[in-house]
Amino acid sequence: MRPSPHDALVRWLAAEREDHPQAEETAETALLELFESLPLVAPPAGFADRVLFRAGIDRRDPFASLWARLVLAAALLATSLGVLWLPATLRAARALLPTWSLSDVVQSGVRALVEGVEGLASVLQVWNLLLTIVRAVAQPLAVPQVMAILLGCLIASALAFRFLRDQISGERNWTHVDSI
């Protein structure tokens, strides 16, 4: 059982009222004892997790759980077995599909590759066209006078927009508020 903090309190307050050097020491010791009645307070549960998360330290390992490791191991095993069985599987496939020779397969692969490259080229053409348009628009903007006019137009349109919005909201205030 802990000693009653009341005794320490009485000694402390009594020492504070006395006026000699020894009383200082007594008061300090008694107050230290009294503070033992104020134990450290624990923060709410999960405090450490929240600190680590906030500090960006809590980056979880995606393969930390046993299941994730098992799935990864199974996937690796299946891949290695697949590599081992690939020649036999290809031979079986060729036997099942006699009309398809290996050269046909290679040919269709090359054809698909060429089509993909052509598609990419047309995308690049469109991109090139867009760049040309942007350059054509940007060229006059480099002239200070044009830029000043454009800026003036922007300010005028912003003011007009603001005025219009004030008008509309003002009108709404007058017409849509019930009279008291």
Partner: protein, 199 residues
Amino acid sequence: MKTDAELVASARRGSQDACRELVRRFERPVYSLVLRMVRDPAAAEDLAQEVFVKAFRRLDTYDERWKLSSWLFKIAHNTTIDHLRRGGPETVSLEAEEGDDRGGGGLGAVLADAAAEDPHVQAERRDLARSLEKAIGGLRPEYRQAVLMFYAHGASYQDICEVTGLPLGTVKTNLHRARKELAEAMTFLGWGPPGTAAG
């Protein structure tokens, strides 16, 4: 069990477990100090988290000649003083938290290990703890900090000097005046000899 220095070395190498262990080792002293400074459990948790986040970000600047607890207290001191200077809410009294121990911030924690005691002694201990918390809360922040570090956390005069950046004489004066003010407050709250309580 790893020493503080070993944990700091592991944390510097990026060990998440070491960081977690450091938080667990110092969460109580840091949180208690901040809670008794700001007297608001929600703000105290936020500030205590901030203390550790700052500590992890500045771990490379930690000088191992210091005690780790003193270094953390220094960060806690700066963080809470900044919060109080910004005018953070210092209005939620711990006393008002009676019966509300959500999140471990209430005074019920004071009695955590007193379950086997006589109910009368428990009640007295609770009342006394509440009054002491109230009296501490009434001190100026610099006095409060010194009192909490010296009496509640067992810090030495030198530790307090390092944490607060104040000279030894000022720290001793602050502690002396704080003790006198605490005694007056406790007497005012009715804990003095008969006939001395005000109100």
